[in-house]
């Protein structure tokens, strides 16, 4: 078991977690840290955020949840497998970083032919969402300086 500052990148937002535990390629967080890093909460009906809710398979509950030192811990890597989310990981002596990519439901959006929504800043930092342009034809084009 390793204790080093852990960075979790979830929905492209990086959050530092002090007390994450990595063992055997599994990442365990307290349910409090789970909320901080992912905004997901463990509820009786499943692991939920806003209107999204993923029920945990009852038979394998101990794969996802355990009680230790007076706290409830959640296995974020097991959850990633459940929601078919790719995970990339790097650890060194003094740090550890975990990246959680797009869940299966997010990747399936394209197949519905509906344009996946996003919110991004302009040069002044003002945020714009694709969904705000509903009612107009949108020519969406990527470019890069490189």
């Amino acid at each position: 078991m390793k204790h080093a500052p852990t960075t979790i990148v979830y929905d492209d937002v990086a959050v530092e977690i002090e007390s994450a535990e990595a063992e055997g390629g599994q990442l365990w967080l307290t349910t409090g840290d789970l909320g901080r890093a992912t905004r997901f909460e463990v509820k009786p009906q499943g692991v939920c955020r806003d209107s999204l809710c993923f029920p945990l398979p009852q038979a394998q509950r101990q794969e996802f949840l355990r009680d230790k030192a007076g706290k409830t811990w959640f296995n974020l890597t097991a959850f990633a497998r459940l929601v078919q989310q790719p995970v990339a990981h790097e650890s060194a002596a003094d740090f550890s970083a975990w990246y959680f990519g797009l869940r299966s439901d997010q990747r399936q959006q394209l197949a519905s032919l509906q344009a996946p929504d996003f919110t991004l800043p302009d040069l002044d930092g003002k945020l714009h969402s694709l969904s705000n342009f509903r009612g107009k034809k949108v020519f969406l084009v990527t470019w890069a300086s490189w």
């Binding site: 960075t7 990148v9 492209d12 990086a14 790719p86 995970v87 990339a88 990981h89 790097e90 060194a92 740090f95 970083a97 975990w98 990246y99 959680f100 990519g101 797009l102 997010q106 990747r107 399936q108 959006q109 394209l110 197949a111 032919l113 509906q114 344009a115 996946p116 929504d117 996003f118 991004l120 800043p121 302009d122 040069l123 714009h128 694709l130 969904s131 342009f133 509903r134 009612g135 107009k136 034809k137 949108v138 020519f139 969406l140 084009v141 990527t142 470019w143 890069a144 300086s145 490189w146």
Partner: protein, 217 residues
């Protein structure tokens, strides 16, 4: 074309955001929109479209894009009507890639005019074919690339390079993963290659896939 309920959104896929993309988001970006909109007065240059910065390459991730410039057409109901396609709207780089902007601009104008009735709008069947589920390796590649970007930003360049290489291995079709990573360090030293070397290796194979326009392909 603003009056035809037509909006242009450009998205800069740059890990270092405005630091790299910013200098381009001024006068030099005007040719991008000039063919479809009237140019602003020379003395007061201001972008007239929605120009966004995407440091995490979210749009490429969500839409499975592997190069730039890539465009998607989205109708009034928020549905994709024409999927990922090389989208040059001016001839500034034509001497390099040989792609003519004129037919593409004509297609765009037709769509702006006729909407879903435009001949350039894809049928649902063809869209479904084009927007088929992603190769699982591409899904993993996106996570490796994302981790690489995060490590780069936190000052762990050596580790970042390792994950950028893994992304490039898992999705060798993505020029985004190659060119962005190369920009963040010395490509010759860290990746044993350069853009010029890689283009030479194509040996006549296309750098950009053919567009889906009449008489092309």
């Amino acid at each position: 074309m603003k009056d035809r309920n037509f909006e242009i959104i450009t998205v800069a896929e740059d890990t270092r955001g405005a630091q790299d993309a910013g200098p381009w988001m001024t006068a030099s970006m005007l040719p991008l929109t000039a063919p479809v909109m009237s140019p602003p007065p020379a003395e007061k240059i201001r972008l007239t479209h929605t120009a966004l910065i995407d440091q995490e390459h979210l749009v490429s991730k969500l839409y499975n894009m592997i190069n730039v410039p890539t465009a998607v057409w989205i109708n009034e109901q928020g549905r994709i009507v024409r999927p990922n396609e090389t989208a040059y709207v001016d001839d500034r780089l034509k001497h390099i890639h040989g792609i003519e902007a004129t037919p593409y601009i004509a297609a765009l104008r037709d769509w702006a005019e006729k909407g879903d009735k435009s001949a350039y709008v894809f049928s649902e069947e063809r869209l479904r074919e084009k927007l088929a589920p992603q190769d699982p390796n591409w899904t993993l590649a996106a996570a490796e690339f994302g981790l690489g970007e995060s490590l780069y930003k936190s000052g762990h360049l050596t580790e970042a390079i390792r994950h950028f290489k893994e992304a490039q291995r898992l999705n060798p079709d993505s020029w985004n993963y190659k060119r962005q990573a190369w920009l963040l360090s010395d490509p010759k030293r860290d990746y044993g290659t350069t853009f010029r070397d890689e283009v030479a290796k194509l040996n006549g194979k296309r750098y950009y896939p053919a567009r889906d326009l009449p008489g092309e392909g």
